[in-house]
Amino acid sequence: MERSRRSFLKILGISTLGLGTLSSVDLLAKVGKGEPVYNQTPDALVGKRWALVVDVNKLDEEATEKAIEACHQVHNVPEYEGEEEIKWIWTDKYEHVFPGQEHAYLAGEIEEKPFLVLCNHCANPPCCRVCPTKATWQRADGIVMMDQHRCIGCRYCMAGCPYGARSFNWKDPKTTYWKEHEPPNRTYPIRGKGVVEKCNLCAERLAKGQIPACVEAVKDSKAIVFGDLEDPNSEARELLHEHFAIRRKPELGTNPNVYYIV
């Protein structure tokens, strides 16, 4: 009895495997049919290393508020308060943005100035290094993108980011925040619970030939300038050539692409 039970189980196992491969071959055949064509939008902004240059001297409360509001409106960022807040761009003081650089005799109004803080779209991003599913990755143009369809919500990227740029959806925005408020931009999705989100450098706007929302909001004062660092003629490069600019935590080797003219 034992001999034949063992061989019965063996045959069962092998046939299950066999049937399984049969159906998956079938599936592969179906998907492989046809060659749909996808193109980039013709007027998309194309670059090799997108960066932001923030002129802190041109920033005041009003300008920063405009920039933050523009971003959060365009991307339907829920405005939670407290420790579960979600923010793509916000302001903080010098001592928090550049920890270790502060001292007792800081110049002028630097101590109280509002610094705009967001994802740095690093050229060497630790968040992309640690993501187990490539739900966040670095595009060829330098933008560190998020794919909320793939994110499993492990939050390893949040632990990996040295700048605290990432937020997590601890609760479901659709049934909590957006029940009380109208999504300001119905052409852009909201996020579900359990995924990470952060600034995406307005990739969807760049695809339509538009500059990032925060940049647009302060374009009169040019407090934030958007440009391609690999293009020597870009406004961003010119600004960096003319003014001394610093970046956050450069010693960590992340090679951030948000520069601050202080």
């Binding site: 749909p36 996808y38 909201i190």
Partner: protein, 127 residues
């Protein structure tokens, strides 16, 4: 076989329980889904691809659209008839099919599936 009576009874009960949804369906089934095209969709007459193809494969199309737009940055889809569409569930598909409850939900509810798209993609407002 040991406990032949118990074992065979057990197998019979299991088979009946396991196939009960189908057996109940034989006796009493709900009405088949009747998805209703919105006026805008009716006017457009042609979806991104042929109706039969879309009925069978719109899930695959949406998956491909998702990957091409988000992951590859390619937001223009060239259909098999040469027409170009902006790759967007919210802004292209739902622009024409703006009556989710009378269209999309009809088949989805019948088949008992709840695609998670709507967790994030904003549904068009219906009158």
């Amino acid at each position: 076989m040991y406990n032949k009576g118990l074992v065979i009874t057990g197998i019979v009960i299991f088979v009946v329980f396991f196939t009960s949804p189908f057996l109940i369906g034989l006796v009493k089934s709900g009405p088949p889904p009747e998805p209703e095209l919105s006026p805008k969709a009716k006017e457009a007459r042609l979806c991104v691809e042929a109706k039969e193809f879309m009925v069978e494969s719109h899930m695959q199309v949406l998956n491909d659209w998702r990957d091409e737009a988000v992951r590859n940055g390619k937001r223009i889809y060239v259909a098999s008839d040469g027409k170009e569409y902006v790759v967007s569930l919210q802004n292209t598909c739902m622009d024409c099919h703006n009556n989710k409850s009378k269209f999309c939900d009809q088949c989805h509810n019948y088949a008992g599936v709840s695609p998670y798209c709507w967790e994030c993609h904003i549904e068009p407002k219906e009158k």
